[in-house]
């Protein structure tokens, strides 16, 4: 038994680590490239490390020598955008998802399908009408215009949370209702604590989505004062050539905060105590 357990454990580790290596291999090339000079990149295979490497790409990224503005400023805009957007999404998505999952009201299914439908038309075409709408409101080149389409909750997130809320047992909810608890109390006191794994997933999802959001910020805002990291990195790819070394350094700098956030939020993706204690 014990021997079998050890073997299966070892095997599991081996499989998982092999898969992990395969998964990060392309990213390894990003890191290696960010530590090379251009001649080093062109002089060897991209998966071989440069010895000695160079940190010059990272210093170039932060000393404001490219485009007269430091990468730090872009990072700061992205952080601001991400924090505001994630906060808004978590709140409004949860509220809407709870209603769609647990309350019965006229027009619920029709509305839900309308929400789903918005995901089925690609944004390369919806972008133009959306821009026209923003122009009518006068929100072009404003933080409102930048955030408005996402901050009030996304159909994607609502769908995710709705599915999760639906799978929760309703006896706790019923009991609370018997005790005279209101809808909001039930949501905050019972559903939210029970939904930590789903909320954690939603938080990770929204953060990464906001962090990588590219096309809409680029279209609706202008100038360096709102430029996001993704746009900054894409700008390094010119019409004729690209500064791969710098691009990859930028990409790595943009990834690190996401990994930290992922490790933080994934603590919530564990079985909720209430649920397990409920035998």
């Amino acid at each position: 038994m014990s021997l079998r357990r050890v073997t299966s454990r070892t095997l599991l580790y081996l499989v998982l680590i092999a898969g992990a290596l395969l998964t990060v291999f392309p990213y390894l090339m990003v890191i290696l490239t960010s530590l090379k000079t251009a001649p080093q990149l062109n002089g060897m295979s991209p998966w071989r490390p440069a010895i000695p490497g160079t940190l010059s790409n990272y210093t170039r990224l932060f000393n404001g020598k490219i485009a007269d503005i430091s990468f730090l400023a872009y990072l700061w805009h992205t952080v601001l955008f991400t924090v505001v957007l994630t906060a808004g999404q978590l709140v409004f998505t949860t509220l809407a998802a709870y209603a769609f999952a647990r309350l019965r009201f006229a027009g619920r299914e029709a509305l839900f399908w309308a929400y789903l439908a918005t995901m089925m038309v690609p944004n390369v075409v919806t972008m133009i009408p959306l821009y026209l709408i923003m122009r009518q409101i006068g929100w072009i080149d404003t933080w409102f215009g930048l955030l408005a389409p996402y901050i009030l909750g996304s159909p994607y997130g609502i769908f995710l949370m709705r599915q999760f809320f639906r799978s929760l047992p309703s006896d706790l909810e019923d009991a609370a209702r018997m005790d005279g608890a209101g809808t909001l109390t039930i949501l905050l006191r019972i559903f939210v604590p029970l939904s930590r794994p789903a909320l954690g997933t939603l938080a990770i999802l929204t953060t990464v989505f906001a962090w990588h959001n590219f096309l809409w910020p680029l279209i609706i805002t202008s100038g360096d004062s709102t430029k996001l990291v993704t746009v900054g990195i894409a700008s390094l790819q010119g019409n004729l050539g690209a500064d791969y070394n710098l691009m990859m350094a930028g990409s790595f700098v943009a990834l690190v905060p996401l990994i930290v956030i992922f490790l933080l939020f994934q603590r919530t993706i564990v079985r909720s105590i209430v649920l397990t204690g409920m035998r």
Binding site: V15, L95, V121, F164, R166, S170, D171, M248, F262, L275
Partner: protein, 348 residues
């Protein structure tokens, strides 16, 4: 409208069953039995039939109060543009001058446009390449990483790195990997005496190569949903099964899979929608011949993009977008029906 009516009962089915299963095992009777008859989980509490009308009004008010903010956002900034795209599809519009109403001419033109139907085919192929592999892989990873192994958190983070990486940059790296001359993949294959395959320049291999990158970037991400879903399954169900002498496989198919159904439903619906709209990967991996070679990777979304922004034919691009919309609607409804049917079958 019928579609919507069908779904109303449909969608509650898997969730309702899941909930019943969850409680049925642990508590006695009192669970969600009501859900089955009233047609939805979390239906109005069973007490007080006298005030039903008042309660319904109150529920409707509460419902709209809760979805209110998202309703404003979705209607004004997501739904309205979709409706406008539908309207634009009835116009001839080059984006720069005034649009001209031409009725269904764009749709008639589309019906005879081989390149559009070729794109439909390419897109279907892409979805067929990606979805099954990606979903199975994600589920497998989730189950394997849902243990209390040491270092499991780091491993999870590693598996989602592809999704967190900047897409523009990864497209470049994948081109280096698939490069026919100096690529990592061919260097690796040459160890086995293979090699010198032009992955991205071959009309038969380009699409599978792009699909492989699609799987790479989404598998870990999809895993997250299954991971969250797995955490929602009460541990005591497994304990009870183990006491009954159920094998690991039996536990997986009898407990895990049925209770993951709401998650599976979400994952399939959203990843099919996502796969049908694939753009970034194809765009960054096939420059300068977008959708090449010889249109082998010309997926619908790329076709829409080039039609709108390089051919300046937004009316036609919108019509193609509506075709994509129609396809996705049909597929989503089909999935809803499938999930309902499966559930009914197992229950009956």
């Amino acid at each position: 409208m019928q579609v919507i009516d069908v779904s109303a009962s449909v969608e509650s089915a898997p969730a309702g069953r899941g909930a019943a299963g969850t409680t049925g095992a642990g508590t006695t009777g009192a669970g969600t039995t009501g859900a089955g008859t009233t047609g939805g989980p979390g239906a109005a509490p069973r007490y007080g039939r006298r005030n039903r009308a008042a309660q319904r009004t109150r529920a409707t008010l509460a419902g709209y109060a809760l979805i209110g903010p998202s309703l404003i956002g979705v209607v004004a900034f997501l739904l309205a543009p979709v409706v406008i795209v539908g309207v634009i599809s009835l116009f001839r519009w080059n984006l720069l001058s005034s649009p001209k109403f031409i009725g269904l001419a764009n749709y008639r033109r589309m019906a005879h446009d081989h390149s559009v139907w070729h794109s439909v085919l390419v897109t279907f192929m892409y979805v067929l390449f990606t979805i099954p592999v990606q979903t199975v892989l994600a589920l497998l990873l989730a189950v394997l990483l849902n243990t209390r192994l040491r270092g499991v958190r780091v491993l999870r983070a590693v598996y989602v790195v592809p999704w967190m990486a900047t897409p523009v940059v990864m497209g470049e790296v994948w081109r280096w990997i698939f490069d026919g001359q100096n690529g990592a993949l061919n260097s690796f294959l040459s160890v086995f005496g293979l090699g010198s395959i032009s992955w991205l320049q071959s009309t038969s291999l380009a699409l599978p190569s792009v699909a492989a990158v699609g799987i790479w970037s989404s598998a870990g991400y999809t895993m997250l949903f299954f991971l969250a879903g797995l955490q929602g399954i009460p541990e005591h169900l497994y304990e009870a099964a183990r006491v009954d002498g159920a094998s690991q496989a039996q536990q997986f198919f009898r407990i895990t899979m049925p209770l993951l159904r709401p998650t599976m439903f979400f994952v399939l619906v959203t990843s099919v929608i996502g796969s049908f709209q694939v753009f970034d990967t194809v765009y960054s991996m096939t420059t300068p011949v977008l959708g090449g070679p010889a249109d082998a990777t010309s997926v619908l979304n790329l076709k829409i993009y080039t039609t709108a922004f390089q051919l300046f034919d937004d009316g036609y691009a919108s019509a193609i977008a509506m075709l994509l919309f129609g396809l996705l609607l049909v597929l989503t409804v089909a999935q809803v029906l499938y999930f309902r049917k499966r559930t009914t079958y197992e229950q009956g």
